[in-house]
């Protein structure tokens, strides 16, 4: 798979990516989109979410700090995205941590066609109906084959499923891809999971006809930058700064020499 061509499409098309997201990582989600050369917009008022989605190329939903009114806005925006035919990428952040998150995740999943469901192992396992142990928004252990979980949920929901972790799994359209890029330092920085979702939205917005590959390519680019950033730094904050700047500087030679996207 030629990963760089997906990054090239992002930089050429500069998709507008509408987010309804959490208040913790909202800046970083916007900045990661901008660092890839695309255009973020954050808006959650019920009076305007459909209109804002109507000028966007992708919609990113993230329930990290969900409330009922914001979830209602997410559902409206998702319906608008379906009407316009743009991909909806949904980060089930914290699923499994509370019954409220499980319930609202299902409401969103059932309100519109979701193109990509994204979470860590325990979040996706929970959405897939498995019993899991979670620790807030951090991943808990899952006693199941993750590729099977992802492929099963993708088939059942007719969407793409992304499980992020030391090795990412992307299942959708009958494909199963693994992304083996990344670095353990990512776990020491708040927001790498949220940013990964925004990246998937950006790449899916630029190449909506090939969502599973776009998702894998986006993750590979993000995580190649993380590998570069980790090499140059020692702590999570310096790593974060370098992560954005390595994303900004990604080029074809680097991406293609480092990318580890493989069929599962």
């Amino acid at each position: 798979m030629h990963v760089y061509s997906f990054l090239h499409a992002v930089r050429e098309k500069r998709p507008l990516v509408h987010h309804i997201t959490n208040w913790v990582t909202i800046f970083d989600c916007a900045q990661v989109v901008k660092s890839f050369g695309a255009s973020p917009v954050m808006a959650h008022a019920p009076e305007e979410v459909a209109a804002m989605t109507g000028i966007a190329s992708a919609l990113v939903l993230n329930i990290g700090t969900l409330t009922t009114p914001v979830v209602e806005a997410m559902k409206q925006a998702a319906v608008a995205a379906n009407q316009k035919g743009i991909p909806v990428v949904f980060d089930v952040c914290g699923a499994g941590a509370t019954a409220f998150r499980d319930e609202k995740s299902l409401e969103i999943l059932n309100s519109a066609k979701i193109a990509v469901i994204k979470g860590n192992a325990s979040e996706i396992a929970r959405v897939a109906g498995l019993a899991v142990a979670t620790k807030g928004v951090d991943a808990g252990a899952v006693a199941a084959d993750l590729a099977e979980v992802a492929a099963g949920l993708a088939a059942r929901r007719a969407c793409t499923v992304v499980i992020t972790g030391p090795e990412d799994i992307v299942a959708g359209d009958g494909q199963l891809l693994r992304v083996k890029n990344g670095h353990p330092m990512m776990a020491n920085l708040v927001g790498t999971g949220c940013m990964a979702t925004s990246v998937i939205g950006t790449f899916a917005g630029a190449t909506p006809a090939r969502v599973p590959e776009a998702a894998a390519a986006g993750l590979a680019c993000f995580e190649i930058a993380a590998e570069q950033a980790a090499r140059k730094t020692k702590g999570p904050a310096a790593f974060k700064q370098e992560l954005f700047d390595c994303i900004f500087a990604l080029d074809e030679k680097l991406v293609e020499s480092m990318q580890k996207v493989t069929p599962a």
Copy 2:
């Protein structure tokens, strides 16, 4: 114009700048005020906004992630600012992107006397009643003379109008100023527009009798720091860090040797 004297006034008076702003760049708006030596406070509860404005020297409003309840709080705070006689600086962030933003922008403009209306070219053109193409919160093309647009709106609303861009325009009190400082890297960082508004609020709060010149001086200082920061860095995140630290380190010699504030 002696730009540094306005910065000196900020550092001497350390104005308290009350913000009702968006959730994306709220930290950066606070930090830019603090980096200039002033004191930011963010508060949006309807029960306290008037009281908080009552102890402030300026009020900054930014509709980047507006909702109806927050706009109601903005209107209450603006009325309190008028009663106290402190300047209200209003960033019409995203005007033109949705009908809701246009409508709420007008509501705020009509609710109280606004000292400064600030936006990029397409946002201000929209508020001025022109037809524009927007891309979320990024500037779209405007087929009009921006100085005329700014001066016309300033005269009609009896306020100061600031259009930011590669060259900033400040119109108000019968004056027309241009600020030719700045750097293209600013466009790769989320929040430079919002921060510019907070800077204008800070400078207007310190020198409320000379708002147009204070706005131009604030923009010049902010953008001189951006020029310095861009020289030292290669990516948007390193640039951001240096931007704050170059603001913190600004001195008279640097400001006066680099400032490009001119009558239009």
Copy 3:
């Protein structure tokens, strides 16, 4: 007092610290917890706050950008924390700035058993019932002996009281401790007060049987990192990055050689 043993407990137990906090410093509060090796979670929906507190080891409340609905959620979470027996740490951010903040602070204090009340000198003086001059969320002058104010409030509320400043005071369980670490650069960075509260929550969550000492140890570790960071940097933004990374790198030798925790 062996400060490092409290840090060791944090890193061993990795407590989940549930925050209901403000929108300005919410990322930094999460990142400071993660940099210490613990696990932050931010959630404020009334439907889930009790459940989220139910899986946490500490609850941190911060009224920096309070609204009535969020305060209601805080009260529910505080009751749940009491039921579970985990410490509630409450930052009375901006107390004294508006009557609304004073009123809501008291409501929260009276709604449940609060383990730690934390603020700067003017905030704590206000909560203790003294007349104070405030400047938004920055400390104003207090004409009183701070150790007496802290000890008095701690006795009256049967809790631990922390006053942060050039020298921190911790009063509780009949103890009075001073922490003389820290650096003036902290005052140039938005959020150091909020982060200090999150640190206290993290340390209290790891060592709930010794809350006053845990609070003092957490402050000492945070401020030793600040001293290290200030030595390496010149501006507030570079300082911030180093602060997180120095926290991440703290070790026993450094902590024990630099800590200045003393009985008052």
